[in-house]
Symmetry: C2
DNA sequence: TTGTAGGCGTTATCAT
DNA sequence: ATGATAACGCCTACAA
């Protein structure tokens, strides 16, 4: 099967390999109609398929980019990947997908492997802990784009959610609907997880701006699994929150489990909003208002940026692209304090 | 950066390229401790990274497999992909992911491209419409595994859900909980979509086995978007079903939208079960009982099979692997007919 | 308009 | 124990 090489085609068509090569690269300029046809026939007859590997070796370009993600199972990741793939498809590029599982060592190994495989660029959802690795890449002007998180200390293109805007959106949403005792719910806070910190900071800032202060115990940080218990504890204490801002979809699940287990009533006793749109938002009762990341646009931009970096040597300085979150308003907010409810039937 | 080649290392270490090559391939057998060390140092000093492309050209093997899926956004796909990636990682393989969007032409193009890129094997969630393409591969003993669907007329390894068992599971579940008027809900039926047809057939068989007959109007086929309306119509007719078997997660969404819009009460007036576990199953009220596909095991098996095909030339005849669905029982079934409820807190 | 020759970075086969 | 040399399949001057 794959034994058919350019030489075979050349022989059958009675021309030299070079001529076949010309033909394949569509440099028909000085080729006689005659030979062109003969070559075409030969290719057809032999079922010849060029060997891209050989071409790559010569041209030092593989039409392949590597994507390293820290969690393939996140919907956000899937959606961004989808957009990246689509964009690559347009340019005839392929995507090698690697899952680091948020393990910096694996991440490093993958970077090495992908470089060895001569990928033309790298899109990374970074663990955030491989500063040195990435700094090298940047220094060597290797096409690189970070998504979702960035790596502190590395100046590279980054495609991120505007986390401050998202947090502010959440606070605004609660406040304008009359919810005042707002708590933020997040996975454990770690300094190298930039979005998490930004969302918290954004939350603090937004609260401050509205003249509300954030009690420390209203910053509820726990792994999603432990969340129901942690929330129960918090709700046993005085001044229970009446609004929870879940920092991502996983956290939201923890919150909803808590809601279900305690039977707390949802628009009345407690309002919820979260970052990351979830597929069941509008079939849940009450429908869930969420803050969606424009995942498709983000993936597209990430791909576009690697391509731009590949195409230009005059390395313009790295840029950070902040994408605006979108409020997916779905809840009837109907409270005792007189505020009238409203509804918005946006579909994701 | 990438300019460092084996020749450079060889020069710096004062040996020949061959020796360096030996070293890299760990054929230390006849190598002096001395030179080994010198090479190691040279490599270190130059920051040499072998060029896998060159190796591939020589060895005719790329340590890469291609995966073509018809819908990257399906959770099932994501999960299987995840398992595949993990399995590949263990063997030092990489995965090129391609999304055909269920378009046979794109699918064909991808097969060609991946072959040109010399992937060592192919895992495909097929559109089902490229019989000829795949038949060629099989004839040439190219490592190939189908997942989720199979291609009629192509004898290749396939990793599938046991759709009959799944349908039977659904019927049993309803029947043993006292629901008798069972309808099946599915996307439009098309003959080349094997799982869909199998699920319907399995449903018919299971009903027959229990002495219940399937009225044609209890086979509700519609696109998820139109489903709420279609269901409303059906429920306006006499003998409305009291149990709906949704054939997949997308269909389930349509059903749940219908439930929400009509306010039909869920364990009492209507029971639901569906294929594909969904993340919100246990936070929904009432909790949803689902029939889960063992996606992880399926992905793992698919990868294992490509590897086995790669490793053995004595091509054993293609096998079809049917994976048993798992009942994720979460609903309190509590009906007026005296049946006692039960609960099962399995986590996905 | 087409052919020749050299090279891309490795590996493999022999020598030495 | 190590080194020359020829592939691998394609591309690209340059020559004819």
């Amino acid at each position: 099967m794959k034994k058919v090489t350019m030489a075979d085609v050349a022989k059958l068509a009675n021309v030299s390999k070079s001529t076949v090569s010309q033909y394949l690269n569509k440099r028909y300029e000085y080729m006689s109609e005659e030979t062109r046809k003969r070559i075409a026939e030969a290719i057809e007859e032999l079922g010849y398929q060029p060997n891209v590997i050989a071409r790559s070796l010569k041209q030092k370009t593989t039409a392949t980019i590597g994507v390293i993600v820290f969690n393939m199972l996140h919907m956000m990741t899937t959606q961004v990947l989808h957009a990246i793939e689509e964009e690559c498809q347009k340019r005839g590029f392929q995507v090698i997908v690697c899952n680091s599982g948020d393990d910096p060592d694996k991440e490093k190994t993958y970077v090495d492997t992908l470089l060895a495989k001569q990928v033309d660029g790298l899109i990374v959802f970074p663990t955030g802990k491989n500063e040195d690795v990435y700094r090298c890449l940047v220094e060597e002007r290797f096409p690189l784009v970070f998504v979702d998180r960035m790596v502190p200390g590395v100046e590279a293109d980054s495609v991120l959610l505007d986390n401050f805007a998202a947090a502010e959106m959440a606070v605004d949403y609660f406040a304008s609907n009359g919810y005042g005792r707002i708590a933020i719910v997040t996975p454990p806070l770690v300094p190298y997880n930039v979005p998490r910190m930004e969302r918290l900071e954004g939350f603090r800032a937004a609260m401050r701006k509205r003249g509300m202060d954030v009690e420390e115990r209203n910053i509820i940080a726990a792994d999603p699994g432990a969340l129901p218990e942690v929330l129960k504890q918090r709700f046993a204490e005085p001044k229970r929150p009446n609004a929870l801002f879940a920092i991502n979809d996983l956290t939201l699940m923890g919150v909803l489990r808590f809601v279900k287990e305690t039977g707390i009533r949802m628009p009345d006793e407690l309002a919820i909003i979260n970052i990351d749109d979830v597929p069941f938002a509008d079939i849940y009762t009450p429908a869930l208002t969420t803050i969606a990341q424009p995942t498709f646009a983000m993936g597209k931009k990430a791909a576009e940026r690697v391509f731009e970096q590949m195409d230009s040597n005059h390395a313009d300085s790295p840029r950070v692209f902040r994408f605006s979150p979108a409020l997916m308003e779905r809840t009837w907010i109907k409270r005792g304090n007189g505020k009238e409810g409203r509804r918005n039937d946006e579909d994701s």
